[in-house]
Symmetry: C2
Subunit: 233 residues, 2 copies
DNA sequence: TGACTTTAGTATCGAGTTGTTACTAATTCG
DNA sequence: CGAATTAGTAACAACTCGATACTAAAGTCA
């Protein structure tokens, strides 16, 4: 990369090597997991990496991310969301100058990986990734947490029908803290986000739980005051 | 851009033209404004653009954005936040394949532009920008709104000391709705985000207002339940 | 000077929301 | 059968929020 001064002239772009990288998140065995694969060559210090590629042809960033997701997860295309672009000196497996991180959220179990040696790995127990990939995973988790109550992303981590306890478990997993059952259900009911099906699931012992599906009916969010939920310094 | 198949081999990056683009937001005359400049050449359909450039040398994306901000606003360096990367077919003034949008928030008035013909323009009254620049402005506004109660960004739009009415006005500007005075102040006090100075400001008629400064003291945000504040469908 | 207006800031009250504790319901396990 | 386990609900106290109303301190204008 050479420096090129632009004293007072108009700016110009510069050729840069680009990658699109994907953090696939899913609840596995009661914890949040990421899809990672092992490198074949031994010369790099970081032995594991996230799925990634460069955009092809006129493909947009989002299209490239969706293609990578399909390559790893099969044709059942999960939605991908952009997380952040990284363009600093943290190392990337393909030495990309700039990497645009995306995330995909997929339900529990329902995700047999077909491609090469991709495997689930709990976020608390990640192997050593290239620093830029590690940053993308962290940014993806933070992004999910931040958007959890503005956006129905929790439902992407569940199959089409689910029990309310499962839904609450997803929220607890993502927020990293326990929630109160009655309050959770009250809030859920007030938001009219789910509707009951007439099926029930018996999960081993205990009373069977009713299955629900995601069926948002909320029209206008009752606009509240500001809450200053920040946790500063 | 040529297509290059990668059937089962390892992915590689591809050279791509890159830009870093900046949406500078500021409250001006009671409305939210963006810094834009007029193009000199008449051949392009979009006559206005945001400040932008390509990263130089080993400069990171954030460093490039900070440099662009300094070039436009002078050496008083405002913080820049990444908003989103755009890599689709929306046109960019420099025809960048990928543009990483950043935003800077600067206080009212305190921003005399020195560089070329940059000027404030109210967001409700924007001229025709290149579509990608327009998208960056929209994404920046949305990003501010989303992060308003998680992050103390409102204070970046104010000078070091301010009245509580000014602070409330910023929130109302960004959220696009009126807030209740007593509730706003109660929430502010509970969060211990500001502390009073011993100065007062007389703003024409009416009782003088006490000046406050941003001085966050909150340790742990009292963790509440989920609120499902989404406004779906 | 003294009413009137304007803006700042506080107090109080009632309606609504939230967390807790306790309860009932339906299943499996022994 | 009874104990254990999970689902789901009820009732209540504590808290939160928004509306209204109030006081305070300035300017305006007769």
């Amino acid at each position: 990369m050479r420096d090129r001064p632009s004293p007072d002239s108009r700016p110009t772009t510069r050729p840069t090597s680009l990658s699109v990288d994907l953090a696939v998140l899913s609840p596995q065995d009661g914890t949040l997991a990421v899809l990672v694969a092992r490198t074949r060559e031994a010369r790099s210090r970081e032995r594991w990496f996230l799925p990634w590629d460069a955009p092809r042809g006129e493909e947009s960033l989002a299209d490239a991310a969706a293609r990578i997701a399909r390559a790893v997860l099969g044709p059942s295309a999960p939605v991908v969301d952009q997380v952040l672009a990284f363009g600093d000196n943290r190392r990337h497996p393909g030495d990309a100058d700039v990497s645009v991180g995306f995330m995909a959220l997929v339900p529990r179990g329902a995700t047999p990986v077909q491609s090469p040696e991709f495997t689930w790995c709990g976020v608390m127990d990640l192997p050593i990734l290239a620093p830029r990939h590690r940053a993308i995973v962290d940014a993806a988790r933070e992004s999910v947490r931040d958007r959890l109550d503005q956006s129905p992303i929790a439902f992407r981590l569940l199959p089409p029908t689910f029990t309310l306890s499962e839904l609450q478990g997803i929220y607890e997993l993502l927020l990293g803290r326990r929630l109160h059952k009655a309050s959770f259900r009250r809030a859920l009911q007030a938001a009219t986000l789910v509707e009951p099906t007439d099926e029930w699931r018996s999960e081993g012992r205990g009373r069977p739980a009713q299955l629900f599906r995601y069926a948002p009916k909320k029209r206008r969010g009752a606009r509240r005051g500001v809450r200053f939920d920040l946790l500063v310094g």
